[in-house]
């Protein structure tokens, strides 16, 4: 069973030709997930494979609370734990293109303009225009809301995941699945080893009740779990 996670055009084509599962970053926003899934199905057809030959499982975080308010509070706690001052400065350094580690994460955004260094073989490439646009957006929103650098990274930095009640999330995920936006999710627990407990104990039963999640394993192999055709 081949899993693949490339997101470039080449990576998507590679997955369309070869993979059994694609692990994407397009699983938070419904329209974005659906657009990604439709693009992958187009590439599958172009590669001469049936549309159901590949499972689309975006990576995601799932944060569950008994009420929406509790879930939001938990998400806020998770983000504060994840985006420590050092992490905030690290993320900002990548965006600005130079080392910001000596700065105060609880202070304002750096006054300097970002620079985009030549590719050094370590990190992905960014276009300067794209970086300038992002920094301009961060500055505008930080100023409007009175956010520190750390708060700005929490609000506008790399985002992922779903936050809600078990029933609310089950409704949302059923919609994603029934519209073909995803075939499921590859879930990153924000805590190990206990971070899956709420998902298994609270979310899975809600999904089962809606008929969108198995109530028992029906096969023994990974291929059978994924519902993919047997190897000829």
């Amino acid at each position: 069973m081949i899993f693949q996670a490339g997101d470039s055009g080449e990576g998507r084509d590679f997955a369309a030709r070869n993979a059994d599962v694609i692990f994407s970053a397009h699983g938070t926003d419904f329209d974005d997930a659906l657009a990604f899934a439709e693009d992958i199905r187009r590439r599958l057809r172009a590669a001469g494979r049936p549309e159901d030959a590949l499972r689309i499982l975006p990576g995601t975080e799932i944060i569950i609370g008994a009420t929406e308010k509790e879930a939001e509070e938990k998400a806020r706690w998770v983000r504060l734990q994840q985006v420590t001052p050092a992490v905030a400065l690290g993320i900002a350094s990548l965006l600005w293109g130079f080392d910001l580690s000596g700065r105060d994460a609880d202070g304002p955004l750096p006054a300097e303009d970002p620079v985009v260094a030549a590719y050094d073989g370590k990190f992905g490439t960014r276009q300067l225009g794209e970086t300038l646009d992002t920094v301009a957006e961060w500055r505008a929103k930080a100023e409007a809301n009175g956010w520190s650098l750390r708060e700005t990274v929490i609000e506008l930095g790399p985002q992922r995941g779903h936050v809600g009640t078990p029933a609310g999330l089950a409704e949302k995920f059923a919609r994603f699945a029934r519209h073909g936006a995803v075939d499921g999710f590859n879930i990153s627990p924000y805590l190990v080893p206990d971070g899956l407990d709420d998902i298994v104990e609270l979310l899975v039963p809600e999904l089962q009740e809606r008929g969108v999640y198995r109530t028992a394993y029906t096969g023994t192999t990974l291929r059978e779990h994924l519902g993919l055709a047997p190897v000829a």
């Binding site: 899993f3 590679f14 599962v21 998770v78 998902i199 192999t221």
Partner: protein, 222 residues
């Protein structure tokens, strides 16, 4: 939305598949909370895998990297050092889980196909058909510094090489059941070496290229 009123959607009978992604270096796994477990202790992996299996997940998906991340000349403080290799880790989990799929992150740029195929096929056999392979195609020179061969591949070449991993056949491998990766029967070192030498650009070529170049190599050495 209940099943009854779901008929106006494209896939009324859709089923969700869950995997758990146990990550390597990242800042998303909280380490500062008292309930945070060791990122190396086998008990942590086992608890996550068993919880996922209780939740009828399809797969336990293990992230991996081939070089410790660095920051300003030091080791990145959120990296995890000392974890077992992912196929070793998953082989241990295979013995203590029953159904859940076990997906290893293994690199196409820095592994050799015959060797990796044998290890993945071993995991597949030990687990009763539950192995998966997350193909990663690192292209950066920074990771390459950890390997004797060094260097890195251009963006396009890393996928060419990855594809050749999948399409390679011949004396070093035969297709295995349940996986489309090449599974070696008995690797024949001499012939694999010929394949490496004949191909020039790297140890792996597509089947047709390999045949052509090996024919040429044999002609040249006669």
């Amino acid at each position: 939305m209940t099943r009854a009123d779901a008929n106006d959607v494209p896939r009324p009978d859709a089923q969700l598949h869950f995997g758990v992604f146990f990550q390597g270096v990242n800042h998303w796994t909280i380490w500062s909370d008292p309930s945070s477990g060791s990122q190396m202790d086998p008990a942590t992996f086992l608890k996550v895998a068993r919880t996922a299996e209780r939740g009828l997940f399809d797969a336990f998906f293990l992230g991996d990297g081939l070089r410790l991340r660095e920051s300003k000349g030091g080791i990145h403080e959120l990296d995890v050092a000392g974890r077992p290799d992912s196929i070793v880790q998953l082989s241990a989990l295979a013995a203590v889980t029953e159904r859940i799929g076990l997906v290893s992150t293994s690199n196409t740029t820095f592994n050799e196909p015959g060797d990796l195929a044998r290890r993945l096929a071993g995991l597949d056999l030990l687990s009763g058909g539950r192995a998966g392979w997350n193909m990663v195609t690192t292209h950066n020179a920074w990771t390459g510094e950890n390997f004797r061969r060094g260097g890195y591949l251009d963006h396009a070449d890393r996928y060419r090489r990855a594809e050749e991993f999948l399409s390679s056949r011949g004396p070093c491998g035969t297709a295995g059941r349940g996986t489309r990766s090449p599974v070696p029967s008995t690797p024949a070192p001499g012939r694999c070496r010929a394949r490496w030498d004949a191909c020039g650009r790297g140890p792996i070529c597509s089947t047709s290229t390999w045949r052509r170049r090996c024919r040429a190599a044999r002609r040249d050495t006669r």
